[in-house]
């Protein structure tokens, strides 16, 4: 599927991967589904299998035990896909850098299997749900320059009216 066509999709199906997280980011992701933020009305859906996903939401620092599993999940995700590194740990190991059981950060783990993987970073500890929505919207806007204004307008509307 052409990147531009893919990125025009309004409905992004995401699969969540916990790569050794403290659960704060995971809970904020689940918060996205609850009535205050309710991202399902924007077509963002959390699916149960990577094969159905357009994007991976990866949280956590990437422990040694988790690293191989993250790579396996990435291999199984249908391409094209975007990997969202949610939170400071996924973006760059954060406060856990140097730990003996840490293999991350997530981008290096993914790049080991696919050097051309598309990775988006949403920093924060944890990133607020609004930041996560913004991250997804910005990534889509970056991937489809012609439609940039439309997507950014949608994004601003989402943030102005979080519910």
């Amino acid at each position: 599927m052409d990147w531009k066509l893919w990125a025009l999709k309004k409905s992004i199906w995401v699969f969540h991967v916990n790569a050794g997280a403290c659960n704060n980011c995971d809970i904020e992701i689940v918060n996205l589904l609850t009535p205050k933020f309710d991202v399902e009305r924007f077509g963002i859906k959390l699916v149960g299998s990577p094969r159905h996903a357009d994007a991976l939401l990866v949280t956590g620092v990437g422990t040694r035990q988790a690293a191989k599993r993250v790579q396996e999940v990435y291999r199984q995700t249908s391409k094209p896909c975007v990997v969202f590194c949610m939170g400071a740990c996924a973006c760059g190991m954060g406060i856990f850098e140097g730990g003996y059981h840490v293999a991350g950060p997530i981008d290096s783990i993914i790049h080991e299997v696919d050097p051309n993987a598309i990775i988006a970073y949403v920093p924060g500890c944890p990133p607020k749900p609004q930041a996560m929505i913004m991250g997804v919207v910005k990534a889509l806007a970056a991937l489809q320059p012609k439609e940039k204004y439309a997507t950014e307008r949608v994004g601003q509307a989402v943030l102005a009216n979080p519910g």
Partner: protein, 405 residues
């Protein structure tokens, strides 16, 4: 029953997507009953205790508040209490009250989170949505008080990093009134529902004797008649100055644990109101020059139970040894006692009843004697919800009485 390879890709429902790691909990079955449980917990191991030795004493709170997302106020509190013990530091009174307020706020949103998850596991997604909707005002208040919805970073050796602004107090009280009303509605709906009575009573029973042998703490213990609570037994922060009671139930089943958590939420609201009314004037921290050699044991009552930190100092800037024990570390293994002999359909609920750190509940798999996976997490969730549906049908399909959504 489906036979699959040992490490398949797991497909699971929308709220608890799962990775392939299946060796967290493996349950062996004989027919519909669980006969054995094996556990491995390498997935989340980040080597925090060793990392702590590389940080200075005043940097460690930032590290330990990230041990677990929902106990992120209790871990730094237990740690700084251990260090304050070594150095003989007494934080100012106002700091003790601020610490109490933040910790009780965390307890409220953590218990509401649990109620939502339990609802999800049994198939009452309305409860899930409802409980999590009413967590949001608590998170917003915490953000106004500390700057973050989670990982508050408000505790330091010697007191608190930040004060609660006086002008915020009327707003906190107003919001608490609203939250209390909603919690009352939720409690009544859950505790009066005949389907939930049948579904939760007698399920996942942890006997008092097992509760002692497995050294469980928190609502897991108090739901089995072991009425321990660090806030009363070894008072810290401002708990000795407040009027509140320890909630406990003797039955040891999932229903008892739900009752304990729901009623504790009201005790927390009571405590916050009292603490705000009695908030002493003054600074929120004392100056700390150095930590002498010594050892300290700090503990705090997190929403899940006792958080325990042991710190050893040799007079330098960093801990020589820092032992961290989260409550789930002792509560989760009790699953062995409450799950062996139980129905497969009750397994997710029984584990959820000890309120483990959220990601623990996802890593369940049921295997036969030869290690072929016959039920993955999605199946276990489905079995649990089917059981609820059968019970509802038998009782004439009464609806859950939740209003004001």
């Amino acid at each position: 029953m489906k036979e699959t390879l040992r490490k398949p890709v797991l497909a699971v429902g929308p709220f608890h997507p799962l990775q392939e790691e299946m060796e967290f909990f493996q349950l062996t079955v004989d027919g519909e009953k669980v006969t054995d449980i094996k556990a491995r917990i390498s997935y989340n191991h980040r080597g925090i205790e060793k990392l702590s030795e590389t940080l200075q004493f005043d940097q460690v709170p930032y590290l330990v508040s990230r041990v677990c997302g929902i106990c992120s106020a209790s871990h730094p509190l237990a740690y700084v209490q251990a260090v304050e013990e070594i150095a003989g530091i007494k934080p100012p009174e106002r700091a003790l009250y601020v610490r109490t307020i933040i910790n009780e706020m965390e307890r409220i949103h953590s218990h509401l989170l649990w109620v939502g998850l339990a609802g999800h596991f049994i198939g009452y997604d309305t409860v899930f949505m409802w409980a999590w909707k009413y967590r949001e005002p608590v998170l917003d208040l915490l953000e106004e008080m500390t700057g973050n919805r989670n990982n508050y970073g408000n505790v330091k050796v010697g007191g608190c990093r930040e004060d609660i602004p006086e002008e915020l107090i009327p707003k906190i009280n107003q919001e608490l009134d609203q939250i209390e009303k909603k919690a009352e509605m939720l409690t009544k709906a859950v505790l009066d529902d005949p389907v939930l009575h049948v579904r939760l009573k007698g399920v996942g029973v942890l006997s008092k004797e097992d509760a002692v042998n497995y050294a469980v703490t928190g609502p897991t213990a108090r739901g089995s008649g072991v009425a321990i609570d660090v806030r009363r037994d070894d008072p810290y922060a401002a708990y000795a100055d407040l009027d509140w009671k320890v909630v406990s139930q003797p039955e040891g089943d999932v229903f008892a644990k739900a009752v304990v958590r729901l009623l504790e939420t009201f005790e927390s609201i009571k405590m916050i109101r009292q603490a705000l009314a009695k908030l002493p004037k003054g600074p929120v921290a004392v100056d700390v020059k150095e930590i002498p050699p010594g050892e300290g044991c700090g503990h705090a009552e997190a929403p899940r139970g006792e958080t325990f930190h042991y710190v050893r100092s040799d007079g330098g800037n960093r801990p020589v040894r820092h032992k961290i024990r989260a409550p789930s570390y002792v509560n989760v293994p009790s699953f062995k006692a409450s799950c062996i002999g139980a129905d497969i359909a009750d397994v997710t609920l029984t584990l959820a009843a000890v309120d483990p750190c959220y990601s623990c509940t996802e890593r369940l798999a049921v295997v036969d004697g030869h290690n072929a996976v016959i039920h993955d997490y999605e199946e276990l969730l489905r079995l649990s919800r089917e059981k609820t549906a059968r019970i509802r049908k038998d009782l004439g399909s009464p609806g859950l009485k939740l209003e004001g959504c």
